[in-house]
């Protein structure tokens, strides 16, 4: 079993050629991503968990996503204790099912969101969860690197666009999506006039659409 801590103490192989020793290579890469990326490369980190059960990578994912999954579950009505427990369980699923992550199909945040969403249904609402059939891809079609890259760029544009929304618009989109409050419920909760809410949400969606081309 790979001991990450040893890797951190001595991340460089003696030869200086990191591509030979897999565990050291992985940790070195993890450290590089930690150092170089202001914004993290969550897809790369997930693939490191998938390929090598890389704990440094997983801790980065946990630190970013676990508190946000907790927040999502609380918005969906779970109390803080339940939300924390389910968030941990969701992250356990991320660890266990990392092999199923396919960067050509979804970004890391989208994949983790669907795991959190499923946890909401299974553990909090406790109902059955009917799922669509998986699409079956013909074997000869290899998932192309460019596809993964394009999808990643698209998700980054979307995340940037959301991040760049005026705070008030972002909060309203969040309320509408996560708590699926209707416009009039949002009006009740925020004390804003209905017209203001409608126009803010419309503006926000227009900006997002504009950002996505």
């Amino acid at each position: 079993m790979l001991k990450i801590c040893d890797g951190i103490e001595n991340p460089y192989s003696p030869s200086g050629n990191s591509s030979v020793s897999v565990p050291v290579h992985v940790t070195e890469m993890g450290l590089r991503i930690l150092k170089e990326n202001k914004g993290h490369d969550w897809e790369e980190l997930l693939l490191m968990v998938s390929d090598n059960k890389d704990r440094v990578a997983f801790k980065q994912l946990f630190n970013h996503f676990a508190p946000r999954v907790k927040s999502f579950l609380m918005k969906a009505g779970a109390d803080p204790t339940m939300a924390e427990e389910c968030s941990q369980e969701a992250m356990a699923t991320v660890w266990n099912k990392a092999k199923l992550f396919d960067p050509t199909r979804a970004s890391a945040s989208t994949w983790i969101f669907t795991i959190a969403r499923n946890k909401r249904i299974d553990a909090i609402r406790k109902i059955r969860r009917p799922e669509p059939d998986e699409l079956t891809w013909p074997d000869e079609i290899e998932p192309a690197q460019e596809e993964a890259l394009e999808l990643k760029q698209q998700s980054e544009i979307l995340a940037d666009a959301i991040q760049n929304l005026p705070e008030k618009q972002r909060q309203l989109v969040e309320k509408a999506f996560f708590k699926e409050l209707s416009h009039s419920e949002i009006a009740l909760e925020t004390g804003l006039p209905l017209g203001t809410i409608k126009s803010r949400i419309r503006l926000a969606l227009e900006r997002l659409r504009h950002a996505m081309g």
Partner: protein
């Protein structure tokens, strides 16, 4: 299940959003999952709502976790046996697996109960207040005229029906609410099988149907 390019009537945005964030009730989720298995357009729309969910998650304000949450999770992971990821099962049914899980196989395995005029139904067991049932309408036969207290979603699985609104073929979804008073008729040539989901009992107009409604649970 082949994706039918001829699907003309799709799921509403509202249903897709609620399915994507996990707030939809079981009966409607069953209909959504079944339709998406047949419809590439709605699958793509669902994926874009999931992407929006992911992006919102990514930029949302965090809720602090307790200090040892990572360590305790890793301790738990250490204890559990190595999880091997399972290959998704092959669906041998003539309906999407979401639905075949509820009927225990294929369309021929459904246990029908006659509800009059050749029309048959089969109630599916779902939690919550919404009801999911399959309807069997012989070719050329009409389902009694009815309106609704709430929302009704009808998804055609086989054959086709027509009502005052349009013609609905395999994979098509009709959404009806309180304002729609309609009489679906199965088109000639093939018996029609639909999945019908309601969040309130249907209101049938004839006295006899009002009388039997509580017993038939429709």
């Amino acid at each position: 299940m082949n994706n039918d390019k001829k699907i003309k009537h799709h799921l509403s945005k509202d249903l897709l959003i609620r399915y994507s964030n996990g707030s939809l009730c079981e009966a409607f989720s069953l209909a959504v999952a079944t339709h998406i298995s047949m419809c590439d357009d709605c699958r793509a729309a669902l994926e874009s709502y999931e992407a929006l969910g992911g992006a919102l998650l990514d930029v949302s304000d965090p809720e602090e976790m307790s200090d040892d949450s990572f360590e305790s999770l890793m301790a738990l992971i250490e204890e559990q046996p190595d999880q091997t990821t399972q290959v998704s099962k092959r669906n041998a049914s003539d309906v999407p697996s979401a639905l075949s899980d509820y009927i225990g196989g294929s369309l021929k395995d459904i246990k029908w109960r006659p509800i009059g005029l050749g029309v048959k139904q089969s109630l599916l067991k779902t939690s919550g207040n919404s009801t999911a049932r399959l309807l069997y309408i012989p070719a050329g036969t009409a389902v009694p005229h009815h309106s609704h207290n709430g929302n009704e979603l009808t998804l055609v699985l086989k054959g086709a029906f027509e009502d005052e609104v349009a013609r609905f073929g395999p994979g098509d979804v009709e959404m009806a609410d309180e304002d729609l008073d309609h009489q679906p008729v199965a088109v000639e040539g093939e018996d029609c099988i639909c999945l019908a989901v309601t969040d309130a009992p249907l209101k049938f107009h004839t006295f006899i149907h009002k009388f039997v409604q509580p017993f038939l649970k429709i």
